[in-house]
Each structure stands twice: as C-alpha cells, then as structure tokens.
Symmetry: C2
Subunit: 248 residues, 2 copies
DNA sequence: TCTAATTGTCTATTGATCTAGACAAGCATA
DNA sequence: TATGCTTGTCTAGATCAATAGACAATTAGA
C-alpha cells in the first residue's frame, strides 16, 4: 500500500474553478516530490477519482500545467514531469542576490527594465531615513534562473550618495558591484518584511505567471556598516518557483 | 486630484471568478490604507466602473468580504471598513511567538488541538539531526489575536529529551515556558524556510479563511545554545492577516 | 420635507465551467 | 500482432458566473 489514500476534497462554489484548484494541488505535489518514483503524474482517470471530479476537469488542470511548461502529456504513455524543484532564496545579514542562487541554477539572468529619478514618498523616505521628497534613483529589474523568471524588483537608492547607480547597474548587472564601483565595499541587510498575495496583472506579465498565481513580496532595507540605509527595495517572488530561507 | 486613476484591469477566463479577484483587490486596498480617509469602501457603482464590471459582480465581492467580517454594508450609507491592519510577526535569532505579537494585539490565544507520539519521518529527522524513526512528540496548535485565528502549527520535539512536552504545553500555553519547565532555559532560531500557496481545506477550517485564501508556510528549526536542534515546526500563517518581519 | 446617493432585491439572458458518455489514436508489452 | 492502458476529441446537458435593467428601501443633507 502506497501513501495514496484519498486527498482532501476540493471546494466547490468558492469563486475558484475546480480545474484551477486541482492544477494548484498537482503543482504542489510535484514540487513536494510526491511523484518522484515514476517521474510522471498519475493517469487522468486516477486523478479524477482522487479529486472526485470528471476526467475532463482534470484535463483542464493538466492543460494549464502543460501551458506553464511544468508537465508534458504524451498520448498512450502518460503525463511526464518536466520540472519540479523550487529555488531556495537565502535571506541573511549578508544577502546577495546572485550568490545564493548560483548553486541551484546554471544561468542567472538579470534584466534592467528601466530607471528614473523620483522624489521619496513617505514610506520609502521613512525606510531610508531621509526627508520625504529627497531625490532617489529607482531601478526596475527582473531576474530569472535558467530562463524562468523568478523575481521582479523595484529598488531605490539615495541619489546624492549614489548618483550613477543606474549606469553602473546597467553595465555590471549587479547591485553589489554597482555599490563597489561607487565606493561602498560592504553592506548588510537591516530588515525584511514578507507578505503573500495574488499577483496583479503587471506581475503576471513580468514573471510569466498564469492568472491566479501567488507572489511573495519582500520589502527590505540594506545599510552600510555604519547603519546608514543605502537601498530600499520591493521584490516580488513567483511563489510556486521559490522558497525563502532565513538563516539567523 | 486624488490617487484614484484606473486600477489595473482584472483578468477574465482564468479559472478565478471576477468577484473573487475583486474581493482580493479590495482586501489588499483596505490593508494598504487606501480608504483610510473615509473609513469606507467606495460605492458599488464606483467600484464597478473602476474594475470594468457589472455592479452585481462587485456586490458578490463585497458580500464575501462582509462574510469575512472585514466590511459591513448599511443600506443608504455605504460599506464601512471594520478591520484593516495586518499583524507583523517578527522572525529573528530569538523568535518567541507571544513576545512579538503582544504589542499589536490585545489578547493572544493559543489552543492545543492535539498531541501524540510519532516516529520521525525522513524530512523531520534530517531537520532535527536524528535517526529516522526516532520518537517525537507532535503538538498541533492554533493561535489567534483578538479572536481572529492567525496561525496553525505542527511542532515536533525529541521525546527522549522532552518527554513531557505536551503536558507542560497544555498547562503553560507556551513552548518557551514548556522548555523552561524541562530544564532548557534558552534556545535560538537556526533557520526558517518560507513558502506561499493556497490554503487547503483543513487550513481553511482551522484559520477560518474563505476558500481560495493564501497561507504562508514557515518551516523552522530551533536549537539550544550548543546548536542541538530542539524543535522542528511547520507554521501556517493566514496571509491576509499577517506579515513576517525578518530582523537580521 | 424633498432630493440625491447608496445599498437591497428581483427577473432575464448570455457565456464559462463541470459532468457524462462514447470512441479514436498512440504507446508498451506479452 | 494482439491487448490493455493512456491521452485526444467530440457531443450534449446541467450548473455557476457575469451582464443588463428596473425598482424598492434606507440614509444624509439641503
């Protein structure tokens, strides 16, 4: 007897279509390694029985997962798992974006979507310990691992101290290196706040998510070794591709 | 001119009903403080125009939020906001459940749902540095702030070292105090991993969430000052009531 | 008291989702 | 090659979600 047993029943009339609930469950089961023994999703008829729905409903769920590139169905054989693991993103006093990911993905891509000068809003000013309206450099970036988008960020830096942030980042592709180019050799994470919610339309597009997906939004402040804030950022992680690991 | 401007359009045919997407947006806007000026949600007709849907669809969304107790509609007046803020849960080297929450909620409730002896599964054994199958005490608890469920936990303790964990916890209502009663005066958080996903049926019931809601699941290990793990736990937070704050 | 703004209720219609059943087509293995 | 298992496709009907419009009921303010 395997671990099977009836999975918990899914909910009807909740505003979330059954096929989407089932897709979410299967996605979770895949990343939990429930199907590692065979490398395949159970047959559609078995899934239909397990969830107590019609086979067509399961097919809609699998079609959505195939669309994401998570599984691939082959007539006559079954539905194979193409990708499974979540990337672990470490958060610690010395959080550096690329470093922690380097061991888990072959190729890390960072893309600068845009940059501009903005006056600090109340919230950002407070986080950076500046007067509201102080000039900031804003960077909008998207990062990916092996071609899959993992996170989208909005970062703010004090313009007076780091006037060339955008240029350096565009050239070097790294905040750490851009800081170094402007005379800041070391910095530490002061705090991070994490919230989870449904992705909005912009995030769906940037992270190539399917509608209804979840993002984890981390707001964080980095400071130099004297404790002066040097960066405030809002990073949104694709929740089904990432986990956050906090080392304390 | 206020901040209004057309909000980003919502997505159709995604497997998530429009009324649920709108409910999620309004819930987010409330916790962001967008409606603090009036303490009221905009009129149904205004919301319908903003989201580009029929008024009845907005009404479904508001009905769901009223069901959660987040808003209350009064005929002729409008729809008032009853509750808004997210509770911030601090995670640091010295993470203690009650301490961080005490300032934000008047009354903290912890409830022991059940306890039992279980052999350690592979994953839990690895986290605690024990041999698979080692005896553990499992505690199932739910915690709430001012009457609203905030988190549900599964905690595991090595039976050999803490044989009376369940009894002490039941009496004292606190893991920290139960440790102290068994001779462990201090412990620290070794690591925490955070994932966000849709709540399953059990979590919906335990945390009194509406279907389709999001939970943040934190897996963590606490260790004594010699670095020996003393607790492994899986805590699921109601994502729309909590944010996690990491101090590094 | 009258009016405007707001929520509450009803009916009707359209489109999306889910169920049900049947059969075709491709793959693996005896 | 023959058989069984699996995915692919089609049709038809039932239920849920969303639109549309009309009007009632309540509140606040002129």
């Amino acid at each position: 007897m395997g671990k099977m047993a009836a999975r918990r029943a899914i909910e009807r009339q909740t505003g979330v279509a059954l096929w989407r609930q089932i897709a979410d469950r299967i996605r979770l089961a895949i990343s939990n390694g429930d199907y590692d023994a065979t490398g395949m999703v159970p047959p559609e008829t078995a899934l239909a029985a397990e969830f107590g729905v019609n086979r067509h409903t399961v097919r809609s769920a699998l079609a959505a997962l195939a669309e994401e590139g998570l599984v691939r169905a082959v007539q006559g054989r079954g539905t194979m798992i193409e990708r499974k693991e979540r990337v672990s993103y470490p958060i610690s006093r010395r959080t550096r974006f690329s470093q922690g990911l380097a061991r888990q993905v072959k190729e890390i891509g960072t893309k600068l979507l845009g940059h501009r000068q903005v006056p600090a809003s109340g919230e950002v000013a407070a986080a950076l310990g500046l007067a509201p309206g102080s000039p900031l450099v804003e960077l909008r970036t998207v990062s990916s691992g092996d071609g899959r988008p993992l996170s989208a960020s909005l970062s703010y830096f004090p313009s007076e101290r780091f006037p060339k942030m955008a240029e350096h980042y565009a050239r070097l592709g790294s905040v750490t290196k851009a800081f170094a180019a402007q005379g800041l050799d070391d910095y530490v994470r002061a705090w991070t706040e994490i919230v989870a919610r449904h992705a909005d339309a912009e995030e769906l597009a940037l992270l190539k998510l399917s509608p209804g997906a979840i993002v984890m939004e981390a707001q964080s402040v980095n400071a130099d070794l004297d404790g002066r804030p040097v960066e405030y950022s809002r990073t949104r992680f694709a929740a089904d591709r990432m986990k956050l690991r906090i080392e304390t």
